[in-house]
Symmetry: none
Subunit: 210 residues, 2 copies
DNA sequence: ATCACAATACCTATTTATAGGTATTTTTCA
DNA sequence: TGAAAAATACCTATAAATAGGTATTGTGAT
Protein backbone atom coordinates (compact mmCIF):
# COMPACT_ATOMS: atom_id res chain seq x y z
CA UNK A 1 0.00 0.00 0.00
CA UNK A 2 1.05 3.58 -0.56
CA UNK A 3 2.03 5.79 2.28
CA UNK A 4 -1.08 7.03 4.08
CA UNK A 5 -2.28 10.55 3.42
CA UNK A 6 -1.21 12.89 6.22
CA UNK A 7 -4.26 14.69 7.53
CA UNK A 8 -4.81 17.71 9.74
CA UNK A 9 -8.14 18.30 11.46
CA UNK A 10 -9.18 21.69 12.68
CA UNK A 11 -12.27 22.51 14.69
CA UNK A 12 -12.83 24.54 17.81
CA UNK A 13 -14.65 21.63 19.43
CA UNK A 14 -12.36 18.89 20.62
CA UNK A 15 -15.27 16.45 20.67
CA UNK A 16 -15.84 16.92 17.00
CA UNK A 17 -12.19 16.25 16.27
CA UNK A 18 -12.42 13.06 18.30
CA UNK A 19 -15.44 12.02 16.30
CA UNK A 20 -13.61 12.44 13.03
CA UNK A 21 -10.62 10.58 14.40
CA UNK A 22 -12.90 7.67 15.21
CA UNK A 23 -14.05 7.54 11.60
CA UNK A 24 -10.49 7.31 10.41
CA UNK A 25 -9.47 4.75 13.00
CA UNK A 26 -10.18 1.86 10.69
CA UNK A 27 -9.04 3.54 7.52
CA UNK A 28 -5.28 3.07 7.37
CA UNK A 29 -5.04 4.94 4.08
CA UNK A 30 -5.48 8.14 6.09
CA UNK A 31 -3.38 9.16 9.04
CA UNK A 32 -4.18 12.05 11.34
CA UNK A 33 -0.91 13.78 12.07
CA UNK A 34 -2.13 17.08 13.45
CA UNK A 35 -5.06 18.71 15.22
CA UNK A 36 -5.89 22.36 15.63
CA UNK A 37 -8.48 24.35 17.54
CA UNK A 38 -8.14 27.62 15.65
CA UNK A 39 -6.95 28.99 12.35
CA UNK A 40 -3.76 30.22 13.96
CA UNK A 41 -3.16 26.73 15.32
CA UNK A 42 -3.55 25.34 11.83
CA UNK A 43 -0.84 27.55 10.42
CA UNK A 44 1.48 26.58 13.28
CA UNK A 45 0.95 22.88 12.57
CA UNK A 46 1.82 23.42 8.93
CA UNK A 47 5.23 24.71 9.96
CA UNK A 48 6.13 21.50 11.77
CA UNK A 49 4.20 18.82 9.86
CA UNK A 50 3.89 17.71 6.30
CA UNK A 51 0.17 17.87 5.54
CA UNK A 52 -1.49 16.32 2.49
CA UNK A 53 -5.07 17.12 3.39
CA UNK A 54 -6.46 19.69 5.83
CA UNK A 55 -10.01 19.38 7.12
CA UNK A 56 -11.19 22.78 8.32
CA UNK A 57 -14.33 23.93 10.06
CA UNK A 58 -15.84 27.10 8.59
CA UNK A 59 -16.68 28.57 11.97
CA UNK A 60 -13.24 28.27 13.44
CA UNK A 61 -11.99 31.24 15.48
CA UNK A 62 -9.15 33.61 14.51
CA UNK A 63 -8.79 33.15 10.82
CA UNK A 64 -11.94 31.23 9.90
CA UNK A 65 -12.00 28.20 7.63
CA UNK A 66 -12.03 30.05 4.32
CA UNK A 67 -9.42 32.59 5.33
CA UNK A 68 -7.17 29.90 6.68
CA UNK A 69 -7.66 27.97 3.49
CA UNK A 70 -6.52 30.87 1.32
CA UNK A 71 -3.40 31.38 3.40
CA UNK A 72 -2.52 27.71 3.25
CA UNK A 73 -3.13 27.51 -0.48
CA UNK A 74 -0.74 30.43 -1.03
CA UNK A 75 2.05 28.85 0.95
CA UNK A 76 1.35 25.17 0.23
CA UNK A 77 -0.47 24.99 -3.09
CA UNK A 78 -0.26 21.19 -3.21
CA UNK A 79 -2.18 20.72 0.01
CA UNK A 80 -5.80 19.72 -0.53
CA UNK A 81 -8.41 21.26 1.71
CA UNK A 82 -11.82 20.12 2.83
CA UNK A 83 -14.19 22.67 4.35
CA UNK A 84 -16.81 21.49 6.81
CA UNK A 85 -19.89 23.53 7.59
CA UNK A 86 -22.69 23.15 10.09
CA UNK A 87 -25.54 24.55 8.08
CA UNK A 88 -26.56 24.46 4.46
CA UNK A 89 -25.99 28.13 3.74
CA UNK A 90 -25.74 28.96 0.10
CA UNK A 91 -24.03 32.30 0.46
CA UNK A 92 -20.77 30.60 1.39
CA UNK A 93 -20.54 28.96 -2.00
CA UNK A 94 -18.76 31.88 -3.56
CA UNK A 95 -16.32 32.04 -0.68
CA UNK A 96 -15.71 28.35 -1.12
CA UNK A 97 -14.90 28.73 -4.80
CA UNK A 98 -12.70 31.72 -3.98
CA UNK A 99 -10.82 29.89 -1.28
CA UNK A 100 -9.46 27.22 -3.57
CA UNK A 101 -10.63 24.37 -1.35
CA UNK A 102 -11.32 20.94 -2.86
CA UNK A 103 -14.32 19.82 -0.89
CA UNK A 104 -17.26 21.43 0.83
CA UNK A 105 -19.27 19.11 3.05
CA UNK A 106 -21.94 19.40 5.71
CA UNK A 107 -20.82 18.33 9.16
CA UNK A 108 -23.72 15.99 9.57
CA UNK A 109 -22.96 14.36 6.27
CA UNK A 110 -22.00 11.05 7.78
CA UNK A 111 -19.04 8.78 7.47
CA UNK A 112 -19.77 7.52 3.96
CA UNK A 113 -19.93 10.96 2.41
CA UNK A 114 -16.82 12.13 4.23
CA UNK A 115 -14.84 9.25 2.82
CA UNK A 116 -16.28 9.73 -0.63
CA UNK A 117 -15.29 13.38 -0.49
CA UNK A 118 -11.75 12.45 0.50
CA UNK A 119 -11.56 9.99 -2.35
CA UNK A 120 -12.58 12.72 -4.76
CA UNK A 121 -9.96 15.01 -3.31
CA UNK A 122 -7.08 12.60 -3.68
CA UNK A 123 -8.18 12.04 -7.27
CA UNK A 124 -7.84 15.74 -7.93
CA UNK A 125 -11.57 16.39 -8.15
CA UNK A 126 -13.70 18.95 -6.39
CA UNK A 127 -16.41 17.57 -4.17
CA UNK A 128 -19.47 19.45 -3.01
CA UNK A 129 -21.87 17.82 -0.60
CA UNK A 130 -25.18 16.85 -2.09
CA UNK A 131 -27.17 18.94 0.34
CA UNK A 132 -25.06 21.97 -0.46
CA UNK A 133 -25.35 21.43 -4.17
CA UNK A 134 -29.10 21.73 -3.94
CA UNK A 135 -28.95 25.23 -2.60
CA UNK A 136 -26.18 26.39 -4.88
CA UNK A 137 -25.86 27.00 -8.58
CA UNK A 138 -23.24 24.39 -9.16
CA UNK A 139 -22.83 23.12 -12.69
CA UNK A 140 -22.91 19.35 -12.90
CA UNK A 141 -19.71 17.94 -14.25
CA UNK A 142 -21.46 15.83 -16.90
CA UNK A 143 -22.38 18.63 -19.27
CA UNK A 144 -25.99 19.03 -18.30
CA UNK A 145 -25.89 21.85 -15.85
CA UNK A 146 -29.03 21.65 -13.82
CA UNK A 147 -28.85 25.11 -12.42
CA UNK A 148 -31.18 25.88 -9.62
CA UNK A 149 -30.95 27.04 -6.09
CA UNK A 150 -33.49 26.26 -3.47
CA UNK A 151 -34.01 28.92 -0.86
CA UNK A 152 -33.98 28.35 2.85
CA UNK A 153 -37.75 28.53 3.02
CA UNK A 154 -38.12 26.08 0.18
CA UNK A 155 -35.86 23.61 1.95
CA UNK A 156 -37.96 23.99 5.10
CA UNK A 157 -41.06 23.17 3.13
CA UNK A 158 -39.45 20.16 1.50
CA UNK A 159 -38.48 18.87 4.94
CA UNK A 160 -42.07 19.19 6.11
CA UNK A 161 -43.44 17.55 2.98
CA UNK A 162 -41.12 14.64 3.68
CA UNK A 163 -42.78 14.44 7.09
CA UNK A 164 -46.08 13.85 5.32
CA UNK A 165 -47.47 17.27 6.09
CA UNK A 166 -50.12 18.85 3.89
CA UNK A 167 -49.96 22.45 2.68
CA UNK A 168 -52.43 23.47 5.35
CA UNK A 169 -50.37 21.83 8.08
CA UNK A 170 -47.17 23.41 6.83
CA UNK A 171 -48.87 26.80 6.77
CA UNK A 172 -49.80 26.38 10.42
CA UNK A 173 -46.33 25.25 11.41
CA UNK A 174 -44.59 28.12 9.64
CA UNK A 175 -47.22 30.71 10.55
CA UNK A 176 -47.84 31.66 6.94
CA UNK A 177 -50.80 31.42 4.60
CA UNK A 178 -51.68 28.23 2.78
CA UNK A 179 -51.52 30.31 -0.39
CA UNK A 180 -47.89 31.03 0.31
CA UNK A 181 -47.09 27.39 0.93
CA UNK A 182 -48.65 26.48 -2.38
CA UNK A 183 -46.69 29.19 -4.14
CA UNK A 184 -43.50 27.77 -2.67
CA UNK A 185 -44.45 24.26 -3.71
CA UNK A 186 -45.12 25.47 -7.23
CA UNK A 187 -41.70 27.10 -7.36
CA UNK A 188 -39.98 24.02 -5.95
CA UNK A 189 -41.54 21.75 -8.56
CA UNK A 190 -40.42 24.14 -11.29
CA UNK A 191 -36.90 24.52 -9.98
CA UNK A 192 -36.32 20.81 -9.59
CA UNK A 193 -38.13 20.05 -12.82
CA UNK A 194 -40.34 17.40 -11.28
CA UNK A 195 -44.01 16.86 -11.88
CA UNK A 196 -45.38 16.24 -8.44
CA UNK A 197 -44.62 15.57 -4.80
CA UNK A 198 -43.56 12.02 -5.55
CA UNK A 199 -40.81 13.26 -7.83
CA UNK A 200 -39.89 15.94 -5.35
CA UNK A 201 -39.47 13.56 -2.43
CA UNK A 202 -37.54 11.10 -4.54
CA UNK A 203 -35.17 13.83 -5.63
CA UNK A 204 -34.79 15.17 -2.10
CA UNK A 205 -34.22 11.70 -0.74
CA UNK A 206 -31.55 10.92 -3.29
CA UNK A 207 -29.89 14.24 -2.63
CA UNK A 208 -29.72 13.64 1.07
CA UNK A 209 -31.69 16.65 2.21
CA UNK A 210 -34.38 14.57 3.87
CA UNK B 1 -59.80 -6.88 18.11
CA UNK B 2 -57.42 -8.99 20.16
CA UNK B 3 -55.92 -7.73 23.36
CA UNK B 4 -53.04 -5.34 22.61
CA UNK B 5 -49.51 -6.63 23.00
CA UNK B 6 -47.98 -5.45 26.26
CA UNK B 7 -44.72 -3.71 25.55
CA UNK B 8 -41.77 -2.62 27.67
CA UNK B 9 -39.32 0.00 26.40
CA UNK B 10 -35.84 0.36 27.83
CA UNK B 11 -33.32 3.04 26.98
CA UNK B 12 -31.15 5.26 29.12
CA UNK B 13 -32.43 8.36 27.36
CA UNK B 14 -35.92 9.33 28.39
CA UNK B 15 -36.31 11.35 25.21
CA UNK B 16 -35.84 8.30 23.10
CA UNK B 17 -38.46 6.42 25.07
CA UNK B 18 -40.85 9.30 24.53
CA UNK B 19 -40.17 9.16 20.83
CA UNK B 20 -41.05 5.50 20.66
CA UNK B 21 -44.17 6.07 22.69
CA UNK B 22 -45.26 8.64 20.15
CA UNK B 23 -44.95 6.10 17.38
CA UNK B 24 -47.21 3.72 19.23
CA UNK B 25 -49.74 6.37 20.18
CA UNK B 26 -51.90 5.66 17.15
CA UNK B 27 -51.33 1.91 17.10
CA UNK B 28 -53.80 0.46 19.54
CA UNK B 29 -52.60 -3.07 18.81
CA UNK B 30 -49.58 -2.27 20.98
CA UNK B 31 -49.69 -0.96 24.50
CA UNK B 32 -46.70 0.37 26.39
CA UNK B 33 -47.07 -0.90 29.91
CA UNK B 34 -43.56 -0.33 31.24
CA UNK B 35 -40.47 1.79 30.77
CA UNK B 36 -36.95 1.29 32.04
CA UNK B 37 -33.76 3.31 32.05
CA UNK B 38 -31.35 0.46 32.80
CA UNK B 39 -31.05 -3.28 32.55
CA UNK B 40 -31.73 -3.63 36.24
CA UNK B 41 -34.86 -1.53 35.81
CA UNK B 42 -36.02 -3.88 33.09
CA UNK B 43 -35.78 -6.93 35.31
CA UNK B 44 -37.70 -5.12 38.04
CA UNK B 45 -40.51 -4.26 35.64
CA UNK B 46 -40.79 -7.87 34.60
CA UNK B 47 -41.54 -8.82 38.18
CA UNK B 48 -44.60 -6.58 38.31
CA UNK B 49 -45.86 -6.53 34.73
CA UNK B 50 -46.85 -9.05 32.14
CA UNK B 51 -44.67 -8.24 29.14
CA UNK B 52 -45.22 -9.66 25.66
CA UNK B 53 -42.48 -7.71 23.89
CA UNK B 54 -39.45 -5.94 25.30
CA UNK B 55 -37.64 -3.29 23.27
CA UNK B 56 -34.09 -2.91 24.57
CA UNK B 57 -31.28 -0.52 23.71
CA UNK B 58 -27.90 -2.22 23.27
CA UNK B 59 -26.03 0.53 25.10
CA UNK B 60 -28.10 0.45 28.22
CA UNK B 61 -26.23 0.68 31.54
CA UNK B 62 -25.88 -2.08 34.16
CA UNK B 63 -26.68 -5.22 32.26
CA UNK B 64 -26.59 -4.06 28.64
CA UNK B 65 -29.21 -4.97 26.04
CA UNK B 66 -27.85 -8.38 25.14
CA UNK B 67 -27.11 -9.44 28.70
CA UNK B 68 -30.53 -8.30 29.81
CA UNK B 69 -32.04 -10.18 26.92
CA UNK B 70 -30.42 -13.46 27.92
CA UNK B 71 -31.61 -13.12 31.50
CA UNK B 72 -35.17 -12.39 30.40
CA UNK B 73 -35.21 -15.25 27.94
CA UNK B 74 -34.14 -17.67 30.68
CA UNK B 75 -36.93 -16.60 33.02
CA UNK B 76 -39.62 -15.67 30.48
CA UNK B 77 -38.98 -17.73 27.37
CA UNK B 78 -42.24 -16.63 25.74
CA UNK B 79 -41.35 -12.96 25.82
CA UNK B 80 -40.20 -11.60 22.46
CA UNK B 81 -37.33 -9.15 22.44
CA UNK B 82 -36.31 -6.43 20.05
CA UNK B 83 -32.78 -5.03 20.28
CA UNK B 84 -32.14 -1.47 19.13
CA UNK B 85 -28.71 -0.23 18.22
CA UNK B 86 -27.30 3.16 17.32
CA UNK B 87 -24.68 2.15 14.79
CA UNK B 88 -24.51 -0.48 12.10
CA UNK B 89 -21.77 -2.51 13.75
CA UNK B 90 -21.44 -6.01 12.41
CA UNK B 91 -19.55 -7.48 15.33
CA UNK B 92 -22.67 -7.52 17.45
CA UNK B 93 -24.43 -9.90 15.12
CA UNK B 94 -23.09 -12.98 16.90
CA UNK B 95 -24.13 -11.57 20.22
CA UNK B 96 -27.55 -10.95 18.81
CA UNK B 97 -27.94 -14.52 17.65
CA UNK B 98 -26.62 -15.77 20.99
CA UNK B 99 -29.00 -13.62 22.97
CA UNK B 100 -32.13 -15.22 21.59
CA UNK B 101 -33.70 -11.91 20.62
CA UNK B 102 -36.25 -11.76 17.81
CA UNK B 103 -35.39 -8.48 16.13
CA UNK B 104 -32.33 -6.34 15.64
CA UNK B 105 -32.99 -2.89 14.31
CA UNK B 106 -31.13 0.38 13.90
CA UNK B 107 -32.41 3.20 16.06
CA UNK B 108 -32.73 5.54 13.11
CA UNK B 109 -34.71 2.91 11.25
CA UNK B 110 -37.89 4.89 11.20
CA UNK B 111 -41.43 4.19 12.15
CA UNK B 112 -42.29 1.92 9.26
CA UNK B 113 -39.44 -0.46 9.87
CA UNK B 114 -40.07 -0.57 13.59
CA UNK B 115 -43.66 -1.57 13.01
CA UNK B 116 -42.69 -4.09 10.39
CA UNK B 117 -40.19 -5.60 12.79
CA UNK B 118 -42.88 -5.89 15.44
CA UNK B 119 -45.20 -7.54 13.00
CA UNK B 120 -42.53 -10.09 12.21
CA UNK B 121 -41.98 -10.70 15.88
CA UNK B 122 -45.60 -11.37 16.70
CA UNK B 123 -45.69 -13.76 13.77
CA UNK B 124 -42.85 -15.70 15.32
CA UNK B 125 -40.27 -14.60 12.79
CA UNK B 126 -36.84 -13.12 13.31
CA UNK B 127 -36.31 -9.66 11.88
CA UNK B 128 -32.99 -8.05 11.12
CA UNK B 129 -32.88 -4.45 9.94
CA UNK B 130 -32.03 -3.91 6.32
CA UNK B 131 -28.95 -1.83 7.04
CA UNK B 132 -27.70 -4.41 9.51
CA UNK B 133 -28.36 -7.24 7.13
CA UNK B 134 -26.17 -5.49 4.59
CA UNK B 135 -23.16 -5.43 6.85
CA UNK B 136 -23.75 -8.81 8.39
CA UNK B 137 -24.15 -11.03 5.36
CA UNK B 138 -27.17 -12.75 6.81
CA UNK B 139 -28.49 -15.51 4.62
CA UNK B 140 -31.92 -14.72 3.20
CA UNK B 141 -34.11 -17.24 4.91
CA UNK B 142 -37.60 -17.13 3.55
CA UNK B 143 -39.55 -14.57 5.45
CA UNK B 144 -36.80 -12.08 6.15
CA UNK B 145 -37.12 -9.95 3.10
CA UNK B 146 -40.76 -10.79 2.68
CA UNK B 147 -41.53 -9.34 6.06
CA UNK B 148 -43.00 -6.14 4.71
CA UNK B 149 -45.26 -8.20 2.50
CA UNK B 150 -45.75 -5.89 -0.45
CA UNK B 151 -47.10 -7.81 -3.37
CA UNK B 152 -45.59 -7.85 -6.82
CA UNK B 153 -48.30 -5.60 -8.16
CA UNK B 154 -47.88 -3.18 -5.32
CA UNK B 155 -44.16 -2.93 -6.00
CA UNK B 156 -44.90 -2.23 -9.68
CA UNK B 157 -47.19 0.57 -8.70
CA UNK B 158 -44.67 2.05 -6.28
CA UNK B 159 -42.07 2.05 -9.06
CA UNK B 160 -44.46 3.92 -11.34
CA UNK B 161 -45.39 6.41 -8.64
CA UNK B 162 -41.68 7.10 -8.20
CA UNK B 163 -41.65 7.90 -11.92
CA UNK B 164 -44.17 10.63 -11.23
CA UNK B 165 -47.07 8.81 -12.82
CA UNK B 166 -50.64 9.52 -11.75
CA UNK B 167 -53.16 6.81 -11.00
CA UNK B 168 -54.72 7.27 -14.41
CA UNK B 169 -51.37 6.90 -16.16
CA UNK B 170 -50.50 3.82 -14.14
CA UNK B 171 -53.85 2.31 -15.03
CA UNK B 172 -53.10 2.79 -18.73
CA UNK B 173 -49.63 1.35 -18.44
CA UNK B 174 -50.77 -1.73 -16.56
CA UNK B 175 -54.00 -2.17 -18.55
CA UNK B 176 -56.14 -2.06 -15.44
CA UNK B 177 -58.83 0.25 -14.13
CA UNK B 178 -57.99 3.45 -12.32
CA UNK B 179 -60.20 2.12 -9.54
CA UNK B 180 -57.86 -0.79 -9.14
CA UNK B 181 -54.80 1.42 -9.03
CA UNK B 182 -56.39 3.47 -6.31
CA UNK B 183 -57.26 0.37 -4.35
CA UNK B 184 -53.64 -0.73 -4.54
CA UNK B 185 -52.42 2.68 -3.46
CA UNK B 186 -54.78 2.58 -0.51
CA UNK B 187 -53.41 -0.81 0.51
CA UNK B 188 -49.80 0.30 0.11
CA UNK B 189 -50.30 3.32 2.34
CA UNK B 190 -51.83 1.10 4.98
CA UNK B 191 -49.16 -1.56 4.81
CA UNK B 192 -46.28 0.86 5.05
CA UNK B 193 -48.09 2.97 7.62
CA UNK B 194 -47.54 6.23 5.78
CA UNK B 195 -50.04 9.01 5.27
CA UNK B 196 -49.53 9.97 1.66
CA UNK B 197 -47.43 9.59 -1.45
CA UNK B 198 -44.67 11.74 0.03
CA UNK B 199 -44.23 9.31 2.89
CA UNK B 200 -44.50 6.39 0.53
CA UNK B 201 -41.77 7.61 -1.79
CA UNK B 202 -39.53 8.50 1.12
CA UNK B 203 -39.91 5.04 2.53
CA UNK B 204 -39.39 3.38 -0.83
CA UNK B 205 -36.33 5.47 -1.45
CA UNK B 206 -34.81 4.64 1.92
CA UNK B 207 -35.56 0.97 1.50
CA UNK B 208 -33.99 0.77 -1.91
CA UNK B 209 -37.26 -0.26 -3.57
CA UNK B 210 -36.88 2.57 -6.06
C1' DA C 1 -61.47 -28.82 -2.68
C1' DT C 2 -60.99 -25.27 0.00
C1' DC C 3 -58.96 -21.49 2.06
C1' DA C 4 -56.24 -17.46 1.98
C1' DC C 5 -54.56 -13.98 -0.56
C1' DA C 6 -53.78 -11.29 -4.64
C1' DA C 7 -55.73 -8.75 -8.06
C1' DT C 8 -59.41 -6.85 -9.91
C1' DA C 9 -63.43 -3.37 -10.09
C1' DC C 10 -66.82 -0.20 -8.61
C1' DC C 11 -69.05 3.79 -5.97
C1' DT C 12 -69.13 8.25 -3.34
C1' DA C 13 -67.53 12.05 -0.90
C1' DT C 14 -64.08 14.92 0.55
C1' DT C 15 -59.59 16.73 0.79
C1' DT C 16 -55.44 18.03 -1.28
C1' DA C 17 -52.49 19.18 -5.04
C1' DT C 18 -51.45 21.36 -9.26
C1' DA C 19 -51.45 25.13 -12.74
C1' DG C 20 -52.35 29.55 -14.34
C1' DG C 21 -52.15 33.96 -12.94
C1' DT C 22 -50.92 38.74 -10.27
C1' DA C 23 -48.94 41.51 -6.76
C1' DT C 24 -46.98 43.42 -2.43
C1' DT C 25 -43.56 43.49 1.19
C1' DT C 26 -39.16 42.23 3.11
C1' DT C 27 -34.39 40.99 2.87
C1' DT C 28 -30.03 40.84 0.95
C1' DC C 29 -26.20 42.44 -1.40
C1' DA C 30 -23.45 45.06 -4.63
C1' DT D 1 -29.29 53.47 -1.75
C1' DG D 2 -31.20 50.80 -5.37
C1' DA D 3 -31.83 46.53 -7.65
C1' DA D 4 -32.58 41.73 -7.21
C1' DA D 5 -34.10 37.90 -4.83
C1' DA D 6 -37.03 35.87 -1.42
C1' DA D 7 -41.05 35.56 0.95
C1' DT D 8 -45.44 36.71 1.28
C1' DA D 9 -50.56 36.61 -0.25
C1' DC D 10 -54.51 36.11 -3.09
C1' DC D 11 -57.73 34.18 -6.80
C1' DT D 12 -59.76 30.47 -9.76
C1' DA D 13 -60.27 26.24 -11.88
C1' DT D 14 -59.23 21.68 -12.54
C1' DA D 15 -56.90 17.41 -11.60
C1' DA D 16 -55.60 14.12 -8.50
C1' DA D 17 -55.35 11.80 -4.18
C1' DT D 18 -57.35 9.97 -0.11
C1' DA D 19 -60.80 7.47 2.75
C1' DG D 20 -64.72 4.80 3.41
C1' DG D 21 -66.95 1.22 1.66
C1' DT D 22 -68.29 -3.54 -1.05
C1' DA D 23 -67.53 -7.33 -4.01
C1' DT D 24 -65.97 -10.67 -7.60
C1' DT D 25 -62.47 -13.51 -9.82
C1' DG D 26 -58.03 -15.84 -10.22
C1' DT D 27 -54.42 -18.56 -8.14
C1' DG D 28 -51.31 -21.10 -5.34
C1' DA D 29 -50.74 -23.93 -1.41
C1' DT D 30 -52.27 -27.56 2.05
Amino acid sequence: MNKPYQILIADDHQMFIDGIKLIFSNHPEYEIVAEALSGKDVLDRFKTNKIDIAILDVNMPKPNGFETCKIIKKQYPDCKIMILTMYAEGQFLNEFIDSGASAYVLKNAGKAELLRALESIVNGQVYIGKQLKLIADVPEKDGFSKSFSLTKRELEIIALLAKEKTSAEIAEILFISTYTVNTHRKNILNKLDVKNTAGLIKYASESGIV
